[in-house]
Symmetry: C2
Subunit: 214 residues, 2 copies
């Protein structure tokens, strides 16, 4: 896990001037992800990154071998958060439906905390080895969600008239759609948003009055 | 509404050779939307479109003034379908919750029938006049959904503990997320998919057994 970005040192006053400005790897990564999300990874060159950072390309190569390494670091950061949520859900001593809800809440948290990184992950299309590895991890995550849904159906906690894989895709389509309208400024509302999403997903919008079958 | 694309005539055998191959506007549009979705609208040139079509740029200019007109036609096609669904939901003689479900089902149908066009619409970011006009229409659509949710809450049919605009965004985040994994080959399953989505949204995944409050 990469630590949070720190502000770049002023190259004119930094204690150790070694011919490159004071960007550390975390700051370079923050800016790279911003540019990847704006322009698309395929269409971003190291020259674009250097221009945005206002430093020489060589100063970036000091930190990484190239833009694919920046992509790998960025995707690893998103995937590390989601994997941690999945690992916790896996070992939680609770029924599958509760582990599923735990995983959904954890994923909303990761999405909000790492919004640019998760946005980049969701746009990956598999053109490079790094992207294909990330897609493999996303698929494994989807299978885990589908397994939780299937187990909750067997437990009698989730209605059996839905296909587990379709449900898994709808659930994470819903969670992932947050990147389209969620803005970092609203992060303080994470709890209520996760509540609203889980209320929708588990209990539905309809009131008891509106439920013909109940 | 633009009619479905027809296969291009073979320019060497077509009855009327007028110096350009047999692509009609609908076929040009189909290919343009494909390329816009692959490369991004901003990064697609008329040269790219001509290359993909295997015709001269002038043959495209025979149909349209430029790529922004192709974008407008494409977005209009997606928006026309969604507007028609909204207009029908608006006048349906039924409670708001039923009109909301009708609109969601109609939107899933439009998304499946016009998948490349809706995909393009959902990627619009507002860099041109045409894109901003499309975004305005999307926002009006979102407000209509939020109004339906608010009315259904007042009717006592939707739980009052959810914010109407958040619910509207979650609902259409869910519908729109279908473009990420839905493939045209599966269109025959539209009904069941809309059923699964509406079951999730209105009644929730949890069985009666799992509902502590019931």
């Amino acid at each position: 896990m990469i630590s949070a970005p720190v502000p770049g040192q002023d190259p004119t006053t930094g204690p150790l001037r070694r011919g490159r400005p004071g960007y550390d790897l975390a700051s370079v990564l923050t800016v790279a992800v911003e540019v990847f999300n704006e322009r698309g990874y395929d269409r971003t060159s190291m020259r674009d990154l250097a221009d945005r950072l206002g430093i020489a390309k060589s100063a970036i190569y000091h930190h990484v071998a190239g833009k694919e390494e920046l992509l790998r670091l960025a995707l690893d950061r998103a995937l590390a958060g989601l994997s941690a949520a999945a690992d916790q859900a896996r070992v939680l001593p609770a029924p599958a439906i509760e582990r599923l809800e735990y995983l959904i809440r954890g994923s909303v948290d990761v999405l909000e905390a790492e919004l640019p990184y998760v946005t980049l992950l969701l746009r990956v299309r598999g053109n490079t080895e790094v992207e294909r590895a990330a897609l493999d991890q996303r698929r494994a995550f989807d299978r885990f969600v589908a397994d939780l849904v299937a187990q909750a159906v067997r437990d009698g906690d989730i209605r059996p008239d839905v296909d587990a894989m379709v449900t898994a895709r709808l659930l994470f389509g819903l969670v992932n759609s947050l990147v389209e309208w969620r803005r970092p400024a609203r992060r303080a509302e994470t709890g209520p948003l996760a509540d609203a999403l889980c209320a929708l997903v588990f209990d539905g919008l309809r009131t008891r009055r509106g439920r013909a079958a109940d």
